[in-house]
């Protein structure tokens, strides 16, 4: 399906999420626009992944609102249709590499003929063409993540969420994943990514949202954040001192 109307910008207001009595996310507020690669940065357990999932609608907030589009788009189905998340550990179906991509296209209601050609393009783009008939689960960690991105490439969502996509990958795999992320960005997809890897954030981010203990402590341009963070925790983090 071709991209018609954009679902950006994203406006998050007073977002909170708690389980039982524990407040995992507290009053987070931010706006995101297209054209910039946004990285949610912070130590482990800060609430970055939760925030991502709340934005993608995988979880329901305890309070607050997540608004897409200007004017606000009411049809949630339409919103979801233009988003996709890539997870830390890729979820692959028990089928071949190519089937995985075609399945995603089928769920996005792409007609049968178009599916095959788009899957082919995605395989080429991700360098997985030689593996197209292999069972997806027999691929290495890096290859699996490239497959997850290939699926996304075939679909070409307006917004691509990535949750610590290169954890546990070797440097070569990290590199190829990051290259793909750049390609997405260059094709107009909004990148919203979480990581706790400072170096990776420096490589990728145009914009940084610094999250710590469930709170958004800072939202700034990447260069500003890495040069002079506004919060003491931010400073501690880039100095490698903030653990949790």
């Amino acid at each position: 399906m071709t991209i018609n109307k954009t679902i950006m910008p994203l406006n998050v207001k007073n977002l909170s999420y708690q389980i039982g009595n524990k407040k995992l996310i507290q009053d987070i507020e931010f706006s995101l626009v297209s054209g910039k690669k946004t990285v949610l940065l912070g130590p482990n357990g800060a609430g970055k992944s939760l925030t991502l999932r709340l934005c993608n609608g995988l979880l329901q907030p305890t309070s607050g609102s997540i608004n897409w589009g200007m004017p606000q788009i009411k049809n949630l189905n339409r919103i979801r249709h233009h988003q996709l998340m890539v997870f830390q550990r890729p979820v692959l179906l028990r089928r071949s590499v190519k089937s995985n991509i075609e399945h995603a296209l089928k769920l996005r209601r792409v007609p049968l003929g178009e599916r095959k050609s788009r899957a082919m393009l995605a395989l080429k783009k991700s360098g997985l063409e030689p593996l197209e008939n292999f069972p997806a689960r027999s691929l290495s960690g890096g290859e699996q993540q490239r497959l997850a991105l290939a699926r996304a490439w075939a679909i070409m969502p307006q917004v691509l969420f990535l949750d610590e996509p290169t954890n546990n990958l070797d440097p070569a795999a990290v590199r190829s994943v990051e290259d793909l992320i750049s390609s997405f960005h260059n094709s107009g997809t909004k990148i919203i990514m979480t990581t706790h890897d400072l170096a990776q954030a420096k490589r990728i981010a145009d914009e940084v949202l610094f999250i710590h203990n469930g709170k958004l402590l800072e939202q700034s341009k990447a260069e500003s954040f890495f040069l002079r963070p506004k919060s003491p925790e931010g400073l501690a983090f880039i100095s490698g001192e903030l653990l949790c």
């Binding site: 995988l58 189905n77 998340m85 028990r94 071949s96 769920l107």
Partner: protein
């Protein structure tokens, strides 16, 4: 005196001689049980998958009932189906009593809960693994069901075999609704029961061993097909 050796030699004799009666009985057993299993899958897979994916009030009660029905006694099912299909019963006009169709109906009732309950568990486990990805793809319930059922296919094969095993081995239901009529509704299990009651124990044992061979054969063939298919998925 009957010994297992006698039974075994009887079995081999029967099989080698391709005794016509025996072939007819084996064919009827397979026809009835395979049909029942196929219908049970058509009904049971979607029910199992739906129960796995849908939350609703009273779901736990439904699951308890479904799981309990896995243990339905065949004679009880046979009796109930008999009363339903009897000329004096509500569906008597169909004239289905003492036909293979009645036997298929009874066995389907017997196996569907097994297929549904085990499918439910399998799909639920798979859903745990796939749910975030599928939700992110905005998958509709029907798409999710199809996706999970296909991905669970290797487990589902085992479930189907379990259902088939239950069907081909039962005698209570088919005896009552089928009537064990020679050449029409006689199957392996009812033939064994008959020979036993006649005191022809070594023939009965021979038939029993033959039935085991058939069960092995069916499982073996399924295993083979399954591994061929999974190898093709490899390359």
């Amino acid at each position: 005196m009957t010994s297992f050796a006698e039974g075994l030699s009887h079995a081999i004799e029967l099989i080698i001689s391709f005794d016509n009666d025996l072939i007819g009985i084996i064919a009827m057993s397979l026809k009835v049980s395979i049909s029942a299993v196929l219908i049970s899958c058509i009904i049971g897979f979607p029910i199992g998958a739906s129960l796995a994916l849908c939350k609703f009030r009273g779901r736990n009660l439904v699951l308890v009932i479904l799981n309990s029905f896995m243990g339905l006694p065949p004679v009880v099912v046979g009796l109930i189906v008999f009363l339903l299909l009897s000329r004096s019963g509500p569906f008597g006009v169909l004239g289905l009593l003492f036909t293979p169709t009645a036997m298929i109906i009874a066995q389907t009732i017997l196996i569907t809960p097994i297929i549904a309950a085990l499918t439910r568990q399998t799909i639920e486990d798979l859903w745990d693994e796939y749910s975030e990805y599928l939700k992110s793809l905005d998958s509709k319930k029907i798409d999710t069901m199809q996706t999970l059922l296909w991905d669970a296919r290797f487990s589902l094969v085992i479930i189907v075999l379990a259902g088939f095993g239950r069907a081909i081995a039962e005698v209570g239901a088919v005896m009552i609704v089928g009537g064990n009529i020679d050449n029409i509704t006689r199957v392996m299990t009812t033939a064994i029961a008959l020979e036993t009651s006649k005191g022809n124990l070594s023939i009965a044992l021979g038939l029993g061993i033959t039935l085991l061979f058939i069960a092995f054969a069916v499982n073996g063939v399924s295993q083979f097909i399954s591994s061929v298919l999974s190898k093709r998925a490899m390359l």
